[in-house]
């Protein structure tokens, strides 16, 4: 029998009594009493006429003696405490909110989509730099274990306590692999040599953020021995802090055994304007697009030569389009956009207005498409703005090349919101999902107003709310709190007991919840 508390005396005859009781006094004689004198004296007073009754009497004596004489266990070794955390404690109301959000309790005041609001809560709390009450850290880590997108903010909030817990509970080991704070210089070489893949990527990303050159050297030190699929992801890590210093390494990677590594290296080089790669691509681009008078003449390449292939242009078109058009697109998309202004003296707007052709085929769309890809890759806001143009008029698909959402992502936040608001006003929500997704959250008041108005029109037009479920989900997360009264008004005006009434009710509830949740973090709602 395992007793969590030890007894003062184990030689008290209990084991013998237990054996006799298990087998039965019909088969086993009553054991002789044992133990210290006081116990023996008490045992001597037991009437032994019926061995079964006597055994129970004796067992009662010993059992009570054991309970009354229990002593504490020896102290185990004390583990080290968690490192101190100097951040200010989370306001109390916010702590209660987090308890609801991580679902430890499905308590009251919980509308809609708690799961959708948790990431927002976490980001806001991280921005405020709060320390969580200790007892909320385990449920948060449990939530982050199941949802990897929560890990970075959860680990940042959990702080030293999170790492201390992760040392003790296997379930939370991911904490050590999640990038949340500056690389610890001393942890470096060991993690890189011995760590799991995820730990190594995390380490590389952190180091790159702080000391780009060291990160490059670390990667180069083991590069030949890495597996091809790992090399691709390590190379991706160089995107942050990319500079001319990375060029020789990337140039070398253009001859890598793996096709994906070659393509990634080429992509990175194409965003380095001054590189030899960019110069080579610019040469090729000049050869395929020329300004002749007031028109752009296109002469697509006749073949994909070894140099082009080395620079990451696949000889076979993966899309099934004509190979010459494919090579043409790859060249223009990888060439530095600055070359066009330098060569022609024209800005993007002017260039985009010029007619395009080779005499027979219309190359306008191909050229715009390639420029759009280049604008996104090179994060060129002037080109992105010109390519997007004004919001297309109603009923027109528009001549926007590439993906408008991706072009939009290149623009500053205010411009993105303004363009999308104009788009929603004109075209409603049907095609707005990706555009809205490209806008910073929470949405600006004008964008929020445009979305609410579009929802009102959609409700009025007899459409079903679920045909807008994607946009509605995003709206719950992103609508500006200032729009709450407008939504509440919609909810009040909607025909009762309809799907739209329920939708607006829910939206209004979520907005209130979000507003309260963010206010608590500021400490206003105390």
């Amino acid at each position: 029998m395992t007793t969590p508390t030890t007894t003062l005396e184990t030689a008290d005859g209990w084991a013998e009594l237990e054996t006799a009781a298990l087998l039965g006094t019909d088969r086993r004689a009553l054991p002789e009493p044992a133990g210290p004198a006081a116990l023996l004296a008490a045992a001597a007073a037991v009437d032994r006429t019926d061995p079964a009754v006597a055994l129970l009497d004796l067992a009662a004596l010993v059992a009570v003696r054991r309970r009354a004489g229990a002593v504490a266990l020896p102290a185990p070794e004390l583990p080290p405490a968690a490192a101190p955390d100097a951040r200010p404690e989370l306001p109390e109301a916010a702590a209660r909110r987090l308890a609801v959000l991580v679902g430890g309790r499905t308590a009251g005041a919980a509308p809609a989509n708690l799961a959708e609001l948790l990431p927002q809560w976490l980001e806001a709390a991280v921005a405020h730099g709060y320390r969580l009450p200790g007892s909320l850290v385990p449920p948060l880590l449990d939530a982050a274990r199941a949802r990897s997108e929560l890990r970075a903010p959860a680990v940042a909030l959990a702080g030293p306590l999170g790492r201390w817990l992760a040392d003790r509970n296997q379930d939370w080991r991911f904490v050590h692999r999640t990038a949340a704070e500056p690389a610890e210089a001393d942890a470096g070489p060991q993690v890189w040599q011995e760590g799991l893949f995820a730990e190594r990527v995390t380490h590389l990303v952190r180091l790159r953020r702080e000391r780009p050159q060291d990160a490059l050297e670390l990667l180069a030190s083991t590069w030949p021995t890495e597996r091809a699929e790992d090399r691709v992801l390590f190379l991706d890590a160089l995107q942050e802090g990319l500079s001319a210093a990375d060029e020789p390494f990337l140039e070398a990677a253009l001859t890598d055994r793996s096709k994906n590594v070659r393509a990634t290296a080429a992509e990175l080089l194409s965003t380095l304007p001054g590189s030899a790669f960019a110069t080579r691509m610019a040469e090729r681009a000049r050869a395929v697009v020329r300004l002749e008078g007031r028109r752009l003449t296109v002469s697509p390449p006749a073949e994909c030569d070894a140099g082009m292939q080395r620079d990451g242009i696949p000889p076979k078109s993966p899309t099934g389009r004509g190979e010459r058009a494919w090579w043409f697109g790859e060249i223009v998309a990888a060439a530095p956009l600055a070359l066009w202004a330098a060569d022609t003296g024209l800005g993007p707007d002017q260039l985009l207005r010029l007619p395009v052709g080779d005499g027979g085929t219309d190359w306008t769309d191909d050229l715009r498409e390639a420029w759009a890809r280049a604008a996104v890759r090179q994060q060129d806001a002037d080109w992105a703005r010109a390519l997007l143009g004004p919001v297309p008029r109603p009923g027109r698909a528009g001549r926007t090349a590439g993906s408008p959402a991706r072009l939009l992502s290149v623009l500053p936040a205010a411009e993105r919101s303004a363009w999308t608001a104009a788009f929603v006003q004109t075209h409603g929500l049907g095609d707005a999902f990706q555009l809205l997704g490209a806008c910073a959250t929470p949405w600006t008041p004008p964008l929020s107003t445009a979305v609410v108005a579009a929802l009102e029109r959609a409700a009025g037009s007899g459409a079903y709310p679920w045909s807008h479920s994607g946009v509605l989900g995003m709206t719950e997360r992103a609508l500006a709190p200032e729009a709450a009264p407008a939504v509440a008004a919609l909810a009040a005006d909607a025909a009762p007991d309809t799907a739209w009434a329920e939708t607006f009710d829910r939206l209004a509830g979520t907005l209130r919840f979000r507003a309260a949740m963010l206010a608590e973090l500021v400490g206003r709602a105390g």
């Binding site: 009781a21 009662a60 504490a72 309790r105 009251g108 005041a109 009450p133 200790g134 306590l161 509970n169």
Partner: protein, 439 residues
């Protein structure tokens, strides 16, 4: 004006999860109108599906609830929603508003009912026939004695055949339990039922202690008065609340150390542990609710209440009933309660067992202990001695929350100390507020 309740406090009143969820939807200002709060009464009108709004009101001190909705849940979702709205400090609830007539009527009706009940109790006490009462007690005593005798025979038979066969006879023990109920010894019945599901390693202890109890009943008249009272209680005699309150009471400022609810399909039981600020006495209050109803008595840990308690008699008095209160519960001291080391706590349980051999645990505050997970499970240590956390007393996740709360630093813990270890109930970290461990 008293403090608003915390959201936790309100949540603890909910009879079940479904009510909580429903109340959450009513905790926004939208459905409410005419809400107010004045002199310990909270009220509001909640728009439902019908044309007339429901009238919900709460008398905060008792607390007592009223709602005009037809729900059988108690308190209903409207009352809970109103309380949640209020606890969030919503401006829609007018502070110091004049109570509407329906609230005033309800309060007056409550007052009258309380007075009537007191009067009825007085009448009953005056008209009771002492001779008839004594005859009833004698009849019951005889039946219990027969039951206890039968139980001793059954236990001895078990030991004669061998406890290795015990598991096979679980159904037989259900029958014995039913016989104990017939013998009007519900305490013996529940112990017998426990025995049916006791694992083999604890069987002999269970048999022996039950044998000791049944034997003690046989000579209850020879025992010292306190121990005799303990035996009576454990066999299943209950003390009448009114009678207890008519006897000696202890007035003190009672600090709430913790509370725990357990529910089965017939009953929700709430245990509330208190400690007197002046007397240092521990006390345990029990409150019950039917399924779907939270027990009415709700006192959050850390609050303290000036009141009279009447203790059930016994060798180790602990269970008490709440008598006269003096004022509403207030926030208790900011610092954690004073406590003992693990060695002292274990010894304290031992001393209590010396008074009442059937005692399974004794409430205790542990000071400055660190929860440590070792190969044998969780232990609580102050660096000099340790006590194990009783397995299964709280879920594993709760112990991790406790570990996180401590972060390796000492905490103050309230709980029950028994032969199988310590069952934590409430924790205080540093100068922080009490945190329930089990929930």
């Amino acid at each position: 004006m008293e403090e608003r309740w915390s959201t936790e406090h309100v949540l603890s009143l909910a009879p079940d999860q479904a009510s909580l969820k429903a109340a959450g939807k009513l905790s926004g200002p939208a459905p409410w109108s005419g809400a107010g709060w004045e002199q310990g009464v909270l009220w509001g009108l909640c728009k439902g599906s019908g044309s007339t709004p429901y009238r919900a009101a709460v008398e905060l001190a008792t607390p007592a609830y009223k709602c005009s909705c037809p729900s059988r849940k108690f308190p209903c979702k409207h009352v809970l929603g109103l309380l949640l709205l209020w606890s969030a400090g919503a401006a829609e609830i007018a502070e110091g508003a004049e109570r509407p007539d329906w609230v005033a009527e309800w309060m007056a009706g409550r007052q009258a009912a309380v007075e009537q009940k007191t009067a009825r109790q007085q009448v009953r006490a005056e008209t009771a026939d002492p001779a008839a009462a004594r005859r009833r007690v004698e009849r019951r005593t005889a039946r219990v004695s027969a039951g206890a005798q039968e139980l001793r025979l059954r236990l001895a038979d078990g030991v004669r055949r061998g406890l290795a066969d015990h598991a096979a006879g679980a159904a037989d023990w259900e029958q014995v339990a039913a016989r104990m109920v017939d013998a009007q010894a519900p305490g013996l019945a529940s112990k017998v039922r426990e025995l049916a599901y006791t694992p083999q390693q604890g069987l002999l202890t269970g048999y022996a202690l039950l044998h000791l109890l049944a034997g003690a009943w046989g000579r209850v008249d020879e025992l010292p008065e306190e121990l005799a009272a303990t035996v009576r209680t454990r066999v299943g005699f209950t003390a009448d609340t009114a009678e207890l309150l008519a006897g000696p009471t202890v007035r003190d400022r009672w600090l709430v150390l913790g509370s725990r609810d357990t529910a089965d399909d017939r009953l929700t039981t709430r245990r509330l542990w208190l400690r007197g600020a002046k007397t240092g006495r521990p006390a345990l209050l029990l409150a019950f609710g039917r399924p779907g109803q939270a027990p009415e008595l709700a006192l959050p840990a850390g609050q303290s209440l000036e009141a009279e308690l009447a203790f059930h008699p016994g060798a180790r008095p602990l269970r008490a009933v709440l008598g006269q209160r003096y004022g509403a519960p207030e926030a208790g001291p900011a610092e954690p309660p004073a406590g003992l080391s693990p060695a002292e706590a274990v010894a304290g349980y031992g001393a209590a067992v010396a008074d009442d051999p059937w005692l399974e645990s004794w409430p205790v505050v542990l000071s400055e202990v660190v929860p440590v997970l070792g190969p044998e499970g969780w232990q609580l240590t102050d660096g000099r001695s340790a006590v194990a956390v009783r397995r299964g007393s709280v879920p594993e996740a709760a112990l991790w929350r406790l570990a996180a709360l401590s972060a390796g630093h000492p905490v103050t813990l309230f709980g029950e100390c028994g032969p199988a270890g310590f069952a934590p109930v409430t924790a205080w970290a540093g100068q922080g507020r009490p945190v329930g461990v089990g929930q």
